[in-house]
């Protein structure tokens, strides 16, 4: 039963996230268009774009580049697919390697490969984009994980397993404590940066660095890379939801579709809110972005103090 639960949790997480990820693109563009008083593309435009790019016969490559650049799109998708396997979404069982530290370090592995591919293209803009990505990842990883640690070190949880944190939060025992809300605020600020939408989309800024590394891909490679980036947003949403807003997760495999539906509803609601907010800001310069994330860090440290004091 334990193994069945583990495998079912992982499989459902990966399936849901892969299926829903392209929807994020459509929603964001729709919301942006409506705010600009345009009709905008259909919500399903994300799927169409990916399919069209994927069907292209010719792939574009950079002359003189190596193997890491060639495999990056698939490797990026693979990395975040493994991350998706590790995050419980519909069921509150422990998934495969479902540990919050492992999840963030796997994500770091994806960024490591991204930076190597950027250097492999010999394109200075791609290198700058990768540099920004690392800088942002550094500043978002610290507050996010500290906020999760504030929950996991409390005497109710005592574990860094995502599923066990979800179960404790669902039982409402943590929600009576101020440290939970402060950690939630810190993680929410960080989530905006990890989603890489408007004010934080520094690593692929078209107007400044010509899309960074994305400019060097075309056809099937580009569609895979875009899918990987959408999957990254989805996994980060999934991590946030599983740790801080897990209500709706099911404890029985029979109700898995219900849990999946609840997860998709929460993820899309949060993403819509984020894309709505993003329209109010112009793109940050890098030090503005890190300043915002420094506030998140301060909040996370505060929640850590409160959690140490037993609140």
């Amino acid at each position: 039963m334990n193994w069945v639960g583990t495998l079912a949790t992982s499989a459902i997480s990966l399936g849901t996230m892969l299926a829903v990820a392209p929807l994020l693109d459509g929603i964001q563009r729709k919301i942006a268009a409506r705010i600009h008083r345009r009709i905008g593309p259909s919500i399903l435009q994300g799927y169409r774009d990916l399919a069209k790019l994927f069907a292209r016969a010719v792939s574009l490559r950079v002359k003189g580049s190596g193997r890491i650049y060639a495999i990056l799109p698939s490797a990026y998708v693979a990395t975040y697919a493994i991350v998706a396997l590790a995050i419980p979404t519909a069921l509150a069982f422990t998934p495969l390697c479902g540990d919050v530290i492992a999840v963030m370090y796997l994500a770091l592995f994806g960024e490591f490969l991204y930076a190597l591919a950027a250097l492999d293209t010999m394109n200075p803009f791609a290198a700058t984009g990768a540099s920004r990505r690392f800088f942002m990842h550094l500043f978002s990883e610290m507050p996010l994980l500290l906020a999760v640690f504030a929950l996991s070190m409390s005497r109710i949880v005592g574990s860094t397993s995502i599923a066990s944190i979800s179960v404790s939060v669902m039982s409402l025992a943590l929600c009576l404590r101020p440290s939970y809300y402060i950690a939630l605020a810190a993680a929410a600020l960080t989530l905006l940066a990890l989603l890489e939408i408007q004010p934080f989309d520094l690593s692929t800024a078209e107007q400044e660095i010509l899309g960074g590394l994305e400019a060097e891909y075309g056809g099937r490679d580009l569609s895979l890379l875009k899918l990987g980036e959408l999957l990254k947003r989805m996994t980060m949403l999934g991590l946030f939801i599983a740790v801080f807003l897990p209500w709706g997760m099911q404890r029985s495999i029979v109700f898995a579709p219900l849990g999946a539906a609840a997860f998709v509803a929460k993820a899309l609601a949060i993403y819509s809110l984020a894309s709505f907010l993003s329209q109010a800001f112009a793109r940050f310069r890098i030090f503005n972005a890190t300043r915002v994330l420094t506030y998140a860090l301060a909040l996370a440290v505060l929640s850590l103090i409160l959690s140490s004091a037993g609140d």
Partner: protein, 689 residues
Amino acid sequence: MPLPEPRNLLLIPVGLYLVASILSFAPSRRLGYYRAMLGLISAASLSFLTVAPLLYVLYPGREIVVLKNLPVPQSSLVVSIDTLSLIFLALINFVTLVSAIHSIKYIETFAREGADLRLYTACTALFALSMSMAVAVRDVLWFFIFWEIMTITSLSLIAYSYRERLVRFSTYLYAALMHVGALCMLVGLFIPLAHAHVHSWSFSSFYSSLRSLTPILAYASLTLMSIGFLSKMGIAPLHLWLPDAHASAPTPISAMLSGVMVKAGVYGLIRFCILGVAAVYASQLYGFILLALAAVTIFVGASYAAHERDYKRVLAFSTVENMGIVLAGLAIASIGIAVGSRLLEVLGLVAALAHCINHSAFKSLSFLSMGTVLRATGTRCLDEVGGLGKALPTTSKTAFVGLASAAALPPFNGFISKYLVYQTLLAAAFVLSPWFERFASAIATLALLASSAFTSMALAKVYGLTFLGKPRRESVEPEALSERAALIIAAIACIGLAMVFPYIVTGIEKGMGLPMLVTVWGYIFLRIRSSWASAPLSMLYIAVGVLVALGFAAAAQRSREVKYLHPFVSGVEYDVERHRPRTSAIDGYVAGYLARLLGIERRVERRYSVQYWTTAVLEYRRVVRRPLIGSSLRIGEAFERVLYAPLRSVVLGIGRGLRELQCGRLNLYIVYIFIAFVLTAIFLAVVRP
């Protein structure tokens, strides 16, 4: 005729090392001869690798007398191999093995420069032997003797290219810090023995003498010993020697310094402080001081690694960071002993030892890979190498394994032990009781978090700028068979350690006689809380998943039509030399941020003049603060300015003041004699009537 006792097997590796060091001084000038000596050294290390486990099984915890009736009073050379010794013996001899094999090609560069190869092979053999003996002896005096031999031989190896000014500087720095450290260590070790009036230098009398110490003496001894061992480990602020020494030493020697010599400090700290004095006179304060030092060290190491342009210095600062991670585990173990929590003790010790093992593997691999690069290109600057992946295929693959492990990325071994250290710190935050102790252990994870992104960026920079992209050089010397063999052995060790890691953890727990708290069934399963275990984390799943995905990717690529273009740089014609990314393109943001944080920056006045579309020329002047990178290969550290420069000026000031007394005038000396006479008279008349 009776069979020789198995304990005599120990004489084989010791004898081989000694023979290698003596034969090195034979009057031969041929390269092949020194290659044979390196072969002898690797044979010695290989025999140690087989003999040590054998003796561990045959004489569990029993002492093996090697030499007795020595002229030194109350001391005999006694060796015993327990689990702690066995771990370090295995590490030392493994790293010696791969370094010696790698050196077979590397010494060509010295032969070309006309350097003295006798010194290289002799010192390497003695260095490995003294390290091995230092972790195996059971006698304080002999421990100190081997420790000093280790320091002196490593010193002469660091000074090997002494014609460069920077090498001489780093040798002096190393000598000075090690001198202070060894002196402190000796006094610290001597205090308990002297206080108990025991007439023996053996470890057992050292441990039994601890009980009779007064607390003040115990803390004095603990502090002095810790200074000695921490300076060897390269813990901030005593880490100053480490990056310079690693950058100056020949690269296979850097692998040995970083892979195992700094671990000698870990061994001493565990043996004499954590399980010695601190276990008897345990205070939590000691553990928290160590934890604070560890956090500072991790942060310093990671941030300077992100700055550097010299790839050997990047790796050296990564060593500083990793030693900080090891120290964090040891600090929690010490706190656990103080508060009587077996969980923290076991977790801390296991995490620290596991990280030592992994660090030895991946750091020696990284250093040796970059050693091949250094031999093939002759430069340590990241902006001068580039695109070597095609010329050095094996090296580029092994370097990826080593650097990704060093960056603590999941399928590789560096991550697993770092994960254990995270779990240790969080377990401390869960178990301890006053809120500030919980907070202190939890906030220490912040240093680990900061370090992970910094070092992964620094190591991505090293790998990307060295191996990826278009080649910068026309001709690169190809890699030799011996180099390839050494690198592949080390890479297999790295990957193998990740795969068998659970068994290593179980082995450490069983061997050290600890309760099996970090229980292992094919994956790490930490029972911090009985009902909800921390998540199972299987490296195998991840590795297999990545491999399958990459296989699919490779299969998908094959059938596609591919069109090759130049990189897109905003419509301008692409020019490799003008447009290729340099170090500052990668580390610019982090370097700028840290420069502000650590105060390593300089003020530069920038002038702009813009030709406006009319005839006017607009002039701008602006003072900007720029990070101090790009000016030289060596960044002055914040610690150098904040701590060491004032210390140096105080000492020099005192010296200058004393020199005023020695002015060389005869009448002043007569005045001195007169004053001394008067003072003596007063003393005799008044104080002792």
